[in-house]
Every structure is written in structure tokens, then in C-alpha cells.
């Protein structure tokens, strides 16, 4: 494979992308809750600009950009690398964090002169910490450094779940924490074994050294199990619905749209970047099969929920399942692999935007009606047209109807499964779409019916617009040009590898 030099022009941007929100965390801690909101909101455009710069550098170079921290290259030092997928994920993360932060102003920006509140300080610091951790996960090149990033993500995400303080939120946060800790420690054990085998933790160094040996498979299994627990892939999904449904809407959008994608991204890194030279067909089928079960169980459970936020959370369990079809559909260096890869990444992005939009909209519904029981939605669409439009458009992408990123993702995956002769995967892909149609219909049908709802507080137009904007982005992905998919291929090992 082509080696990326330890530091390339523009590589320093990667360090800044992590240190900017990390510095925001530290500054917010000292200056307190009111300043924290201003710092977080002020950093969002800067961070978005940085992410775009990284994407431009990667596109201009046509190759990953990299930075060796302290000028010390691996194996002793830590390297950061951004390839096509890293850059796209950084931009997506910046957009969703910015949207959630803007949306959260109404709840967490403190009025002048008011004493610092618990919720405000926690929310603003933790959302910045999530952002720092995600950026590091997207560009990290060292498996232990990525462990620290995973822990940073966990410690930032868990307190957001119980910001409300009710007993069920505490229970959800505790369950989340225990699952996440199990996940980290299992991942860490795999890292220890890989280091014991090869004396390196750098992804590209390991990729050159790994061989198909029982010990490597043990390490990969442990790391994958840990990452699946954090991604909430069936059957390790139990913690997710209460956690995502109980957090404040702005936090749910980030947790469901981005945070679970962080650990999924590391699973991609492991199987497609560390182990691409190994015969990974069998484990890929196992991961895909778990994904299929997740689609089925998550969708059926979503159909049975009485509350909107829980329904949207169970839908996340189902949509996470789709992500794992990327393993059987893109593994190896086949002609169809780029289709599967594009489909998987498109699903990551489409779900991130659609789900963030739907959680923000669900929060607006709950604020406007004073509850989020679906049975009590009769006629609500007439009272809150923009918000229910957001739910509908987001739902369109979840179902995989055109034009939407969700459609594009499923279409690419179907083509990959046809081209590879793995027809079976098309069953859960299509079946999950039908079930998603069912649960989206369950939200919209009562809302569109004739009836009268009592509006307790009319949502601000700007907040409705933010949610709608994210849903529109989920649809706009359908119009991604061919160059976008070429960009996603930049730096993917099986492409640059000469022999299959």
C-alpha cells in the first residue's frame, strides 16, 4: 500500500480540529455556564470552517493528509490522518453539532445576571467534548489514542442523558455507562494483544504487519465486541432507547445522529484499514447478519412505541443495523466493493442528518404539546406544520424513498448485493424500509387527521427551521455528484492495494 508521509501540508489542521473544542471545554469550565454557551456557539462556525478546510486539502491532494504529533512519527509517536471519509464525517459532525447548539439556546442559554445553572454548564461543556472526541475518532491513527477518544466520548455523552435528573434518566445513564465501559475495556484488551503481537499501535503500520492468526482474530473479536456495545448493535442495543429518549432533544440529536457513529467508524477502521489484507468474509457475514436482526427487531419495537421520542430512538436501533451491511458488501477488493462502501457511508450520513432532524422536531412537539404521546397527536400537523414536515421528510429518508440520502444508500447497497451475488442482504434492506414506512405512518397518520390539539407553547420559527434544515440535508444527499463518491474512496486501503 502507498505509505502516507508522517506529516503532510495542512496536517496541522487535524490537531486544531481536536484542540479547538477541547480548549473550549477547558475555557468554559473556568468561565462558567453563561460564557460556556457563548464559547460553544462561537466555536461552531470556526470548527465548521476547519472541517471544510480539511476536506479541501484532502480533495486537492487526492490523498490522506497526516500529522505526526510532536514531530515524532509512529511507532513511538502518535499520527493523525484524514482521508475522504474522515473529512466528510468531520463536516457532518460540525453541521449537526452547530444545529443542536443553536437549537439548544432556548433551553440552555442563561439570562444575564442569573446564577450558573447545572444544566447549562453540563450541556455546553459536554457537547464541545463530544465534538472534540468525534473529530479525534475521525482522524486518529493510533489505536490507543483512539481508546482515549472513545473514553472522552463516553464521559461526555453519559451526563447528557441524565441532565433532566428524573430517576428513569439516571437509570438510563447508568446502564449506558456500564455498557460503554464494558465496550472500552473490551476494545482495550484487543489493543493490548495487537501490541503484544506486533509492537505497534499505528493503523497503517499494523496493516502491513497483521497476519491471519488465531491471536489476531481474538484481538479483532474483542475490539469489535467492545465497539458493537458502544454502537448499540443488536443484541447489545438495550441501553440505547431509554438513553436517547430521555436526554434533552438537542442532546438526543447529537447522541443518535453522531455519537453511535463514532464507535461504528472505529469498527470500519479496524476491518477496512487494519485488517483489509486478511480473509474477512466470514466475520463480515456475521456482522451483516447482526445488522439484519437489528433492522428487524428495532423496526418492530419502534412500531410498538407509544411515545414519539422512544419510537425515534428504536428507529435508531434499526437504522444502525443497516450500517453493518457495509461489512459483507464492501469487504475485499472486488468490483462491487466501492458500491458497498459508498452505500454504507451514505447510510451513516443520511441517518445522521435525518435522525438529528427528527429528534429536534420531536423535542419541539413535546414542548408545544406538553407531552409526546403519539395517541395525543390528532390534528397536530395543522398546528405545527413545519415540525411535522421535518418528521415526514426525515421519515422519508429512513424509509429509503427517493429523493433522499436514505434511498441513495439503500439503492447502492442493493446494487452491491446484486453485483456480488449476495442476494440475501436485499431482504432486510427492503423489508426494513417497509417497516420504517409503518412507524413513520404511525406518527404522521394521527397528526394529519382532523382534530384539535391544545398548543401550550408555540415553538420558535428559528428552531423549527434548524430541524427542517437538517432534514433537507438528508434529502439533498440524494443529489451527491459522482465526485463525492470518488472523494469517499480517497485513502481506502483496498483501493490503493495493487493485488486483491
Amino acid at each position: 500500500m502507498t505509505a502516507t508521509p508522517a506529516t503532510t501540508p495542512g496536517g496541522f489542521l487535524l490537531v486544531l480540529a481536536v484542540l479547538l473544542p477541547a480548549g473550549g471545554v477547558l475555557l468554559s469550565f473556568v468561565l462558567g455556564g453563561r460564557a460556556a454557551g457563548k464559547i460553544a456557539l462561537g466555536l461552531t462556525p470556526v470548527g465548521f470552517g476547519l472541517a471544510c478546510l480539511v476536506a479541501m486539502k484532502v480533495a486537492a491532494a487526492g490523498a490522506p493528509i497526516a500529522y505526526a504529533i510532536g514531530g515524532l512519527p509512529p511507532p513511538l509517536g502518535i499520527a493523525l490522518r484524514a482521508d475522504g471519509v474522515s473529512a466528510v464525517m468531520m463536516v457532518a459532525a460540525a453541521i449537526i453539532v452547530a444545529a443542536s447548539a443553536f437549537y439548544a439556546r432556548a433551553k440552555f442559554v442563561m439570562p444575564e445576571g442569573a446564577p450558573e445553572s447545572r444544566g447549562a454548564l453540563t450541556f455546553w461543556i459536554m457537547i464541545q467534548a463530544i465534538w472534540a472526541a468525534l473529530n479525534l475518532i475521525f482522524v486518529g491513527g493510533d489505536l490507543f489514542n483512539l481508546y482515549v477518544a472513545l473514553e472522552l466520548l463516553t464521559f461526555a455523552a453519559v451526563p447528557l442523558v441524565c441532565i433532566d435528573g428524573r430517576p428513569e434518566t439516571l437509570r438510563a445513564a447508568l446502564r449506558y455507562l456500564l455498557f460503554a465501559l464494558f465496550g472500552s475495556v473490551s476494545y482495550l484488551l484487543g489493543v493490548a494483544l495487537l501490541y503484544g503481537l506486533y509492537g505497534a499501535l499505528d493503523i497503517s503500520l499494523l496493516a502491513q504487519r497483521v497476519e491471519a492468526a488465531p491471536m489476531v482474530w481474538t484481538a479483532a473479536a474483542l475490539m469489535t465486541a467492545g465497539l458493537l456495545a458502544k454502537t448499540a448493535l443488536f443484541p447489545l442495543h438495550l441501553w440505547l432507547p431509554p438513553a436517547h429518549a430521555n436526554a434533552p432533544a438537542a442532546a438526543s440529536a447529537v447522541l443518535s445522529g453522531l455519537v453511535v457513529k463514532g464507535s461504528f467508524f472505529l469498527a470500519l477502521r479496524l476491518w477496512f484499514y487494519v485488517l483489509p489484507g486478511l480473509p474477512t468474509a466470514a466475520p463480515s457475514v456475521v456482522l451483516g447478519a447482526l445488522g439484519a436482526l437489528a433492522v428487524l427487531f428495532g423496526s418492530v419495537l419502534a412500531l410498538r412505541q407509544a411515545r414519539l421520542k422512544l419510537l425515534v430512538a428504536y428507529s435508531t436501533v434499526a437504522q444502525i443495523g443497516y450500517l453493518f451491511f457495509v461489512f459483507p458488501l464492501a469487504a475485499g477488493a472486488h468490483v462491487w466493493s466501492p458500491l458497498g462502501w459508498s452505500g454504507g457511508l451514505m447510510q451513516v450520513l443520511a441517518h445522521a442528518f435525518a435522525k438529528a432532524a427528527m429528534f429536534l422536531a420531536a423535542g419541539l412537539v413535546a414542548e408545544a404539546l406538553g407531552h409526546d404521546r403519539i395517541a395525543g397527536f390528532t390534528g397536530a400537523a395543522r398546528a405545527l406544520p413545519l415540525t411535522f414536515l421535518t418528521l415526514g421528510l426525515g421519515g422519508l429518508s429512513l424509509m429509503g424513498l427517493p429523493p433522499s440520502g436514505g434511498f441513495e444508500a439503500k439503492w447502492l447497497m442493493l446494487r452491491a448485493s446484486a453485483a456480488s451475488g449476495q442476494w440475501l442482504w436485499s431482504l432486510p434492506i427492503l423489508g426494513g424500509g417497509l417497516l420504517a414506512g409503518g412507524y413513520v405512518y404511525r406518527i404522521l397518520a394521527p397528526a394529519l387527521a382532523d382534530g384539535e390539539v391544545e398548543i401550550k407553547a408555540r415553538p420558535q420559527r428559528s428552531r423549527e427551521a434548524v430541524a427542517l434544515g437538517l432534514a433537507v440535508l438528508a434529502l439533498a444527499l440524494a443529489f451527491a455528484p459522482r465526485g463525492f463518491f470518488d472523494f469517499l474512496e480517497i485513502g481506502r486501503p483496498s483501493v490503493s492495494r495493487s493485488a486483491p
Binding site: 506529516t7 496541522f12 490537531v15 484542540l19 477541547a22 480548549g23 471545554v25 477547558l26 469550565f29 473556568v30 500529522y67 505526526a68 504529533i69 510532536g70 514531530g71 515524532l72 511507532p75 513511538l76 509517536g77 502518535i78 446564577p115 450558573e116 445553572s117 447545572r118 444544566g119 454548564l121 453540563t122 461543556i125 459536554m126 467534548a129 472534540a132 479525534l136 490507543f144 489514542n145 482515549v148 477518544a149 473514553e151 472522552l152 464521559f155 461526555a156 453519559v158 451526563p159 441524565c162 441532565i163 435528573g165 439516571l170 484488551l189 494483544l193 501490541y195 503484544g196 503481537l197 506486533y198 509492537g199 505497534a200 488465531p214 491471536m215 481474538t218 484481538a219
Partner: protein
């Protein structure tokens, strides 16, 4: 190596036995006490593995600070009589869990036994780098923590700050800004106070010493900070001092000073040495000690605040 010293085998068996007891004990508090003993035994295992730095860390954190945390938690839970913990899992689940655990432990034992020989190692590179320009640290672990893996260490200190905030955030709204509950409700007797008055300053001195020699000998910022933290906790338990209010600006500055100074010096590296987190050779050791001083402060403040818990006061729901 041919014959295993009997002592090692005995220590290994003892560690596994105490761990088993910790899991099997019926009584919650008994299992907590078992865990504290386990943490101290583990420190000995680390010394046997030629890892005195980890042994120090394990003794201070695994045995000491975690011990106070868990014992306090056990006592508070007992006092709350909050016994309902959900039903024990069914036998089927237990058998499945047992099988899974045995499988994992077996696979791990197999893997550990078949690690390659000669083992790959970064020790030669670390030795060369430590002797090379810009390091000048006799303790290779400190060099790895502060120089080669500076990014990990800085982020891990941010994790500590997040954990403190996460713990505070669990408290009641009305209590926000106030001080955590005292570690001991009861007024301590004279002997305890006297002990703390003698122990705390001596321990604090040893903590500073461990940090100071950590550049060249076993020890370092974390171990030194942990010992200082333990001494502050001793003083708090004797009610010689009270936990500070979480709204205090000084407290918050102390908490983030370690990662903040580290981050600032790391950023300055690009101007001073041409790369983020690089140290100019002439001042490397001085800069490392400067960063470590603030890390000691952050660790010494963060650990006791984590044990003390969320602010108390206001109305409970």
C-alpha cells in the same frame, strides 16, 4: 527462567481467590472490602512485573482512593436502605454468562501463552529517543507519557475534568454551586484528628517528592498527585478541612490547570520547536516539569472532588 518462586504462585492464587470472593460474597459491603484488599494485592503483582510506577499508581488509586470511594458508597447505600436492586438473573442466564466468561478467559489464556518470542518492543526506540536530544529524562515512562504520547496524556486529563463535571451534574439543581457533603458525617474523635494532622503533611511531602523524582525514578505527576489527593482526603475525613464549593473559580482553575497548561505548551510547540507538542531541546526538561507541576495540582484536586460527589443541599426531590 526455570523454577517459579513459590511466592509468585502464592501471590497469584491469593489475587484470584480474593477476586473470586469479591464476586461471590453475598453481602454488598463485604464484597467492597474484598475489592479494596484486592487492589492492594494487585500493587504487589505489579512490583513483581517490574512495574514499580504502575505499582505506585495501583496502590494509591486502586487500593487507596478507589477504596474510600467504594466504602463511602457502600455505607451511604446501607444508610439509604436502598436494597431493591432488581431480580437476580435466571439460572439459564447465569449458565450462559458462565460459559461465555469461561470461553473468553480460556481464549485469553491461550493467547497470552502464545505471545511471540522474542516479543516485539519499543523499548530500544524509547531508549534511543530518551537518550537523544530534547528528552533528558531518566524515567522512560515519564518520557512516554509527557513526550511521545503527550496527546493521550493531555486528553486523559480532560477526561478527568469531564468526570468531575459529570459527577457534579448528578446533583440537585438547588444545590448547584455549593459544596459536596462531608466524607464523614460524624465528628471524628481526637485520635483520628491527631493522626490526620501528622499524616497529612508527611504524606503530602512524600507526594511532592514522588512527583519530583518521577522524571528520573519511579513516580511522576500522576502518582504524586494521587498521594497528595489521598492526604487531602485524610484531612477531609478528619474534618480538618471541608470540601470547597463547586462554584469556586479557584477550584475550577485548579481542576483544568493541568490539561490547560499542557494544551498551551503543546500549541506553543509549533512556534518553539516546529510541531505541536514538540519541546525545544534546550528547555525540554524544564517545560516537562512545568507541565507536570500543574498536572499534579489537577490530579490532587480532581480525585478528592470525584470521591466527595455532587454538591449537597437544597431540596431533594
Amino acid at each position: 527462567m526455570s523454577v517459579l518462586p513459590l511466592l509468585d504462585v502464592g501471590l497469584a492464587l491469593l489475587v484470584v481467590a480474593v477476586a473470586t470472593w469479591t464476586m461471590a460474597a453475598r453481602d454488598l459491603f463485604a464484597s467492597v472490602l474484598g475489592y479494596v484488599a484486592y487492589g492492594l494485592l494487585l500493587a504487589l503483582v505489579w512490583v513483581r512485573l517490574h512495574a514499580p510506577d504502575i505499582g505506585l499508581t495501583e496502590a494509591a488509586v486502586g487500593g487507596g482512593v478507589t477504596g474510600v470511594l467504594l466504602v463511602t458508597a457502600g455505607k451511604r447505600l446501607d444508610a439509604l436502605k436502598a436494597a431493591t436492586s432488581g431480580a437476580a438473573p435466571r439460572l439459564r442466564v447465569k449458565i450462559l454468562a458462565g460459559a461465555l466468561s469461561a470461553l473468553v478467559a480460556g481464549a485469553l489464556a491461550f493467547v497470552v501463552a502464545s505471545l511471540p518470542t522474542p516479543a516485539p518492543s519499543l523499548a530500544p526506540q524509547a531508549a534511543a529517543a530518551a537518550a537523544g536530544p530534547g528528552a533528558g529524562l531518566g524515567n522512560p515512562i515519564t518520557a512516554v507519557l509527557i513526550s511521545y504520547r503527550a496527546f493521550d496524556t493531555m486528553l486523559e486529563k480532560i477526561v478527568l475534568a469531564l468526570a468531575v463535571l459529570g459527577i457534579w451534574s448528578v446533583g440537585a439543581d438547588a444545590a448547584w454551586g455549593g459544596a459536596p457533603a462531608p466524607l464523614r458525617k460524624a465528628r471524628p474523635d481526637g485520635a483520628m484528628v491527631l493522626l490526620a494532622q501528622i499524616l497529612a503533611p508527611i504524606g503530602a511531602l512524600i507526594g511532592v517528592h514522588i512527583f519530583w523524582v518521577g522524571a528520573d525514578a519511579p513516580g511522576g505527576a500522576f502518582q504524586g498527585g494521587a498521594l497528595l489527593a489521598a492526604m487531602w482526603m485524610v484531612a477531609m475525613m478528619a474534618r480538618l478541612v471541608e470540601a470547597p464549593r463547586i462554584g469556586s473559580r479557584a477550584l475550577r482553575l485548579a481542576l483544568i490547570s493541568g490539561p490547560a497548561v499542557f494544551l498551551a505548551v503543546g500549541l506553543a510547540g509549533i512556534a518553539m520547536a516546529g510541531s505541536f507538542f514538540a519541546f525545544p531541546p534546550a528547555f525540554a526538561k524544564a517545560l516537562i516539569l512545568f507541565i507536570e507541576t500543574f498536572m499534579v495540582l489537577s490530579v490532587a484536586v480532581a480525585l478528592p472532588m470525584m470521591v466527595a460527589g455532587p454538591p449537597e443541599g437544597g431540596q431533594e426531590p
